[in-house]
C-alpha cells in the first residue's frame, strides 16, 4: 500500500531575552551550574513570578510575523507534574488562552515551489532545569540555570507530508525568528527544539491515523532522520496488519532509531488551571500597532522582492533571503557593483563556498560586501576576467588587500591591448599548424567547437589575462 505521512510539529523556541520569563536571572548559556538561579527560579517558599514584558513583545512580533490573531487577553496556567528539575512542581504555561492564535506560514521547497503551512497556536511558557546523571556517583545533580528560560511553543497544523517539508518548515521558521531577532536560533544550544507528531494513512484517505510523538529533536538533520525512521516503523506495523500505539517516543541519534518512552510519562494528568499568581495579559490595538510598525522586512517578503526587484530565480532568492545578514550582504554587493545576477552568483558560490569551508558565519566574513562588490565591478568593466576574479577573491580572503590592490600588485589586469593580443594569436596559430589545417577543413558548426582550442591556448599564453572577447574577434579574423 502507498502511505501518506501526516506530520505536525511543536517547536520550542527559546526567546532571546537577557533575563528569564518570570525572574531577573540571566539566561546566558553555559554558565556554571546554578549560578543563574534566583530564589524565584528555585521556587523558594513565598516567591512569586513577575512576567518579563520583553517576552510578551517577542511573542507578539512572532504572531504578527505569521499574520496570526494576537490573543487580546491571554492567560497563564499551571501545568502540574513532579520532576526534580521542575522546582515548583508545576510549569507556568498557557493552555486555553494562548498569546498567539491561528496563522499561516509560507515555506519554500527544494524545487522552488511554495506551500502554506497552518500554525494552530503559539504560547509562552518557562523551560525546566536540567537533571545531570553523570559525575554524581549514581546520584542525580540538578542545574536550574535553564529553569525559567522563556520559551515560545509554536504548534503547527498537521499540514506537513514528508521529511523534506518538515525540514523546509523548520528552516523557514528559523529564518523568520532570527529575522525578527526574537531568538538566536542556536539549535546546538537548544534554542530551537522540536517535537514531531507523525502518523500514516493510506494515500487518498482523509482520516488521520494514530500518531506517535517524537520528543525533543534538536537539529534539522535529526528531524529528517527521525521522520524517515518513524515512517518505516509505522509502515511496517501497518503493513503487517498491526496498530500504531499512541505514545511518546525518543529519537536516539547515536543508534538512529526511535524508541518508546515509559508510558507512565505519557499518562500524566497535568491538572491545568489558571495561574493565580499572574494576571491575564491584556494587549490592546495600540500596543500591537506600535510593534507592527517596527517589524523588519520578513523572509517571505524579501524573497518576493528579490524576485521582482532583481529578477532572481525562486531558488536564488530563497537562499539569499534565508538570513537577514546574508540578504543584507547581498544587497550591499548589488549596491556596489550594480549587477544583481552576478552578485547573486558570487555570493552563493564563491562567498558561501569559502564561508562553509572556513566554518564562518556571514558576520565574520574576511571580505566585506563592499569589497566583493568592488571586485565584481572589475569583472563588469573588463579589467579582469571571471576566472582571474576568483584568484583575486582568494587573495582578498587571505587579507592581501582590496581587489584593485591585488590586481595591481600581481599584475592581473586584463590585457586589452590589441597589438599585444594579436602577437599572441599569431604565435598560437604559427605553433599549431595541424590544428589550423583541421579548422579550415571543418564546416561552420564544427569550427565553433574547434575555435575553443585556440582561445584556450591564447589565454594560457597570456596567463589568463587576455581579454577573451578580443581574443575571439582576432582569431575569427586570422583563421581564414
Amino acid at each position: 500500500m502507498q502511505w501518506e505521512t501526516v506530520i505536525g510539529l511543536e517547536v520550542h523556541l527559546q526567546l532571546a531575552t537577557r533575563s528569564k520569563i518570570f525572574s531577573g536571572s540571566a539566561t546566558t548559556f553555559g554558565a556554571a551550574p546554578n549560578t543563574q538561579a534566583s530564589a524565584v527560579d528555585l521556587a523558594m517558599p513565598g516567591m512569586l513570578p513577575v512576567l518579563n514584558a520583553q517576552v510578551v513583545r517577542y511573542a507578539v512580533m512572532f504572531g504578527l510575523g505569521i499574520g496570526a490573531d494576537i490573543g487580546r487577553r491571554s492567560v497563564f496556567d499551571r501545568k502540574n507534574y513532579f520532576y526534580p528539575d521542575l522546582p515548583k512542581g508545576y510549569q507556568i504555561s498557557q493552555f486555553e488562552a494562548p498569546i498567539v492564535g491561528k496563522g499561516t506560514f509560507e515555506i519554500q521547497l527544494e524545487d522552488g515551489s511554495t506551500r502554506d503551512i497552518g500554525i494552530t497556536r503559539a504560547h509562552l511558557e518557562e523551560d525546566a532545569g536540567k537533571s545531570l546523571h553523570e559525575d554524581f556517583h549514581g546520584q542525580t545533580g540538578i542545574d536550574l540555570n535553564r529553569a525559567g528560560t522563556p520559551l515560545l511553543e509554536i504548534v503547527s497544523e498537521p499540514d506537513l507530508r514528508n521529511a523534506a517539508e518538515a525540514v523546509a518548515y523548520l528552516k523557514a521558521l528559523h529564518s523568520l525568528v532570527t529575522y525578527l531577532g526574537i531568538s538566536d536560533g542556536n539549535m546546538a544550544e537548544g534554542s530551537m527544539r522540536c517535537d514531531i507528531n507523525i502518523s500514516l494513512r493510506p494515500m487518498g484517505s482523509q482520516t488521520l491515523g494514530t500518531r506517535a510523538e517524537i520528543k525533543n529533536v534538536n537539529s534539522f538533520r535529526f528531524v529528517e532522520k527521525a521522520i524517515r525512521h518513524e515512517f518505516e516503523r509505522q509502515a511496517d506495523i501497518l503493513e503487517d496488519g498491526g496498530k500504531v500505539v499512541q505514545e511518546t517516543r525518543l529519537y536516539d541519534a547515536d543508534l538512529d532509531e526511535t524508541r518508546s518512552m515509559r508510558s507512565k510519562e505519557v499518562a500524566n494528568d497535568y491538572r491545568y488551571f489558571p495561574e493565580p499568581d499572574l494576571l491575564p495579559v491584556v494587549i490592546d490595538e495600540h500596543y500591537i500597532e506600535a510593534i507592527r510598525a517596527e517589524l523588519p522586512e520578513l523572509p517571505t517578503q524579501k524573497r518576493h522582492r528579490f524576485v521582482t526587484q532583481y529578477g532572481l530565480g525562486n531558488y536564488d532568492a530563497n537562499v539569499l533571503a534565508d538570513s537577514r545578514e546574508l540578504a543584507d550582504y547581498f544587497e550591499a554587493v548589488v549596491q556596489r557593483c550594480g549587477d544583481p545576477k552576478i552578485a547573486a552568483n558570487w555570493v552563493q558560490v564563491e562567498l558561501l563556498g569559502l564561508l562553509n569551508r572556513s566554518e564562518l558565519p556571514i558576520g565574520e566574513s574576511p571580505v566585506s560586501a563592499a569589497a566583493l562588490g568592488a571586485l565584481i565591478a572589475r569583472i563588469l568593466d573588463n579589467s579582469i576576467s571571471g576566472k582571474i576574479a576568483k584568484q583575486v577573491f582568494e587573495a582578498m580572503w587571505q587579507g592581501e588587500g582590496s581587489a584593485d590592490e591585488i590586481i595591481e600588485a600581481r599584475g592581473l589586469k586584463q590585457v586589452s591591448d590589441s597589438g599585444e593580443i594579436e602577437a599572441m594569436v599569431d604565435q598560437v596559430i604559427a605553433a599549431n599548424a595541424g590544428q589550423v589545417e583541421q579548422f579550415l577543413a571543418a564546416d561552420e558548426d564544427r569550427r565553433k567547437k574547434l575555435v575553443g582550442f585556440f582561445v584556450g591556448q591564447v589565454m594560457k599564453l597570456s596567463k589568463g589575462q587576455a581579454n577573451p572577447q578580443m581574443v575571439n574577434q582576432l582569431l575569427a579574423k586570422k583563421l581564414v
Binding site: A39, M44, P45, V50, N80, P87, D277
Partner: protein
Amino acid sequence: MHDKSVAQLIAGLRDRHFSSVEISRCFLDRIARLDSTYNSFITVDEDAVLASAAAADTRIAAGEAAPLTGVPIAHKDIFCTNGMRTSCGSRMLDNFTPPYDATIIRRFNEEGAIILGKTGMDEFAMGSSNETSYYGPVRNPWDTNLVPGGSSGGSAAAVAAMLAPAATGTDTGGSIRQPAAFCGITGIKPTYGRVSRLGMVAFASSLDQAGPMAYTAEDCALLLNAMAGHDPLDSTSSEVPAEDYCAGLQEKLQGLRIGLPRQYFDDGLDAATARRIEAALKEFEAQGAHLVEVDLPHSQLSIPAYYVIAPAEASTNLSRFDGVRYGHRCENPADLHDLYTRTREEGFGDEVKRRILVGTYALSAGYYDAYYKKAQQVRRLIKQDFIDCFDQVDVIAGPTTPGPAFALGAKSDDPLAMYLEDIYTLAVNLAGLPGMSLPAGEVDGKPVGLQLIGPHFAEARLLNAAHQFQQATNWHLQRPASANGEVA
C-alpha cells in the same frame, strides 16, 4: 508597659518615657514567663530582638524615627524572615531558614520595627483552631481549654495575652478575623492585592492576604500604614495608592449606612452571640448610623466554593515541597518516587494532606468542570452579591463566627464542623473584599467578634467605623485574667 497600645508605645518612645530596649525586654520577659501556657510563639531570638531595639533607640535618639521605630511586633511564622527559621507550622519547614525577607517584613524593618518573634499557626495556615500545627496547639488566653482560632491563632493569642503589642496574620478564609474574634482583639484582612504576598508562604494564592492584629483599630491602622502598598514583585498587588489609614479615624459615623445580611443572622448563629452583635449594632445606631437589612443570596455557597478553590490552589502551591532543594527530606530515599512520597508523607500533617487530596481531585481531568470551574462561577456570583449590596450600604456588619471559641479537640476530628466555623468569613475572601473583626462583648467570659466588611479598598472606612465604636465602648480594653495575673 505590656498593656499599652502601639499608639501609646509610639508616644512613649517619642517622649523618651521608655526605650525600645526596655519595651523589648518587657515583652521578652513575659514570653519567657507565660508562653509555656499559651504556646503562641514558635521562634523567639532574644539577642536579635535586643540588638534591633538598641539600633532603634539610636535611630530615635538621632531624630530619625519612623512611626513604628522601636515597636516590637510578632509575625505569623508564614512570613519569611531573613536568617530566621520560617516553619509555617509544619515539619516540612522545621529546618528552613530563608535567605530573604517577605516584603512586609522588609517594610517593617525599614520603619525600624522590632521582629519580636514568629508565632504559631495551623500548618500552612490550614485550619480554624490552631490544632494542626507541628509545634502543638496554641491556647486561648481567655481560657486555656479553648482554641484561639486559626490559622493566625499564635498571633491572636500573643496579642491577647499581651506577649506582643501587635502582630501580623494572614487570612485566606477568615484566618485573621476568626482568631481575633476568639481572642477578643481587633484584626483586619485588607482588600486582596492591598498588601504584598511576596515572601508569604502561599496557601491559596487568589485568596491569601496579610493584615495586622492588635487590641485596637487605631493600632491596626498604624501597622497597615507600614504594610500596604504596591509591590512590583507581586503581580497581584494593586497599584491603587495606599492611604494613610490613621487620617480618617476620627470621622463621625453620622449617616453611615450599615447593611445587615439576613443570611448572617439565621439559625446557624449562636443566640447569645447574636444578642451581643445586636447590642453592638445599637451602638452604631446611637452614633447616627443607619441599619439596613441586605441580602447575600449566594452566601451559603461560599463554603463549597471555598473548599474547592482553596485546596485546588494549595495542592499545587505545596508541590514545591518535594525534599529536593530545602525543607524536610526523608532519610535514604531508595529512588525518586520514594523521595517524594516519604518526604511528603513525613513532612505534612493530616489536614494538609486532606486538602492536597481534595484539591488534586478537584483539578483532575473529568472533574475540573464540575468542581473548579463551577466553584469559580459561584465565586463570581458571590462577588456580585456584595457589589450589589454596596450600592445600598457603606459597610456590611455581622458576626465574625457562629459562636465563641470552642474547646480544644471539640472539632478536630470533624473537618466539616470545623469548616463551618468560617461560614461568615469565607465569602469576603472569595470576593476579595476587606473585612475586619473587633471585640463586641462576651458570652460566658468568651469574647465575641463583630465583623465589618467593606467595598474594595475601603480599609480606611472600616477602621474609622471600628475606631469610633471603640471610642464609645470598652470591649477592646478587656484583658484575659490569665495574662493579667502575671503583671509584674
